[in-house]
Symmetry: C2
């Protein structure tokens, strides 16, 4: 745990399908956007393969470095789902049947359909706390500051609201975007001056192509709305002076 | 560099816009898929903020651990583009004007339009080798095994073919996907048996939702087509026995 006032997190995506390029990662964006609202800032994302040793070592590193770690993937019923066992090893805990999860899934599937594959999903680190799953039954879990979520984006998303009471965030991270019909090199100098005058606001500059036209989105991020507004007005000053068209603001 | 026969790589995405959730990362998928074809396997992806110290430390770690490192983002003209300077520090090299890059960009923009913002993009680690950019002029570069590419997906993609002669890959990584109208827990046991009998094939199992119907995609990956075929036929055996509908194969 770091001692800064800011509350931070890392996301650990566990899955060969992202590394191979077969599947695009959508979960980082979902988790980060949701965490921003409750004042938790994601400072690192890692994607690693379904290899136990790699998962254990990465978890040990990240859970020390960040306030929270959110994992995605590897908690289903198949042979390549090894997240729960890896978390047990990272925390030096037994890997065992979670009684509450067993009850939930036995009820969800019905006793006669609660087969061996499904029963695998109730094996967890001992004393894991459940994260309920309104979309498809099988719960995620957390051990201390490590929160384990599934890889399927719609299921992951359904489970986030249930996490809220388990997390202590800081001030929400606010942002403002101004999209301009310009190119980065024409505003780089002015933008740097604004950044130098507004050290507490993160100013990002992102070129875009939309409907065949190019532009630049400037994103201002801070916990303090007044600082964003001040920074914004300094940007509008040079934008007006340079007669740059504003495409969009939000 | 590791000494295994397999040639591996890491991808380092540098950019607050991915961490904040504002932008979804598309570049991992593009780079990984392209590398697979030339026999380079991505074993790790990291996303980190535009913070110099973090970039330098991460580069030092990854360039030692993997055969190749591909970075994306942070090589444009604005204040938040600090990749080139960070690479210089990671390799203990001077950060200076690259003469060839200067000539390329001066020609691309015309002498009169080659302003201060644009000139920032020719500052690179000394002795960097250029990666040409057919889409928008400004080249990427590599120092030893670290290859620096831009963050804009279409520009990055246009630069990959120019990388081919700089990389020494292994055998291409082949894959086969079988999509089934089933649920994971109904095939988990059979699939594990196939995995146990085919240790050299990576078998991944991925639930999907398409057009309101659920299913599971099984992905087989190996450098050896014969092994994939053998594994595939064992999967088809249990699929037929269980009378599971095959939705798609590729």
């Amino acid at each position: 745990m770091n001692n800064k006032k800011e509350v931070n997190a890392a996301i650990l995506i566990i899955g060969n399908e992202i590394l191979s390029g077969r599947t695009k990662d959508l979960n980082t964006s979902t988790i980060s956007s949701w965490l921003n609202k409750i004042g938790i800032r994601v400072l690192e994302v890692r994607v690693i393969p379904d290899i136990e040793n790699k998962i254990v070592e990465t978890l040990k590193e990240l859970k020390k470095k960040y306030n929270y770690v959110f994992t995605s993937g590897g908690i289903g019923p198949t042979h390549d789902d090894i997240t729960a066992e890896s978390v047990s090893k990272a925390f030096d805990l037994k890997y065992e049947i979670h009684k509450e999860a067993y009850k939930i899934l036995e009820k969800y599937y019905g006793k006669e359909n609660f087969n061996e594959g499904r029963q695998k999903m109730v094996w967890m680190p001992s004393n894991a706390e459940l994260i309920l799953n309104p979309a498809s039954g099988a719960p995620g879990f957390n051990v201390e500051n490590v929160f384990c979520l599934p890889g399927v984006p719609s299921i992951l998303e359904s489970m986030l609201p249930g996490l809220k009471n388990k997390l202590v965030g800081g001030k929400p991270i606010l942002s403002k975007t101004i999209s301009l019909r310009t190119i980065e090199s024409d505003i780089a100098k002015s933008l740097k001056e604004v950044q130098d005058n507004n050290k507490d606001v993160d100013i990002g500059s992102y070129p875009f192509f939309r409907k065949g036209k190019i532009g630049v989105s400037i994103v201002l991020r801070s916990e303090d709305q007044t600082k964003i507004d001040m920074c914004n007005s300094q940007i509008l000053t040079f934008v007006n002076k340079k007669k740059i068209e504003i495409v969009e603001r939000d």
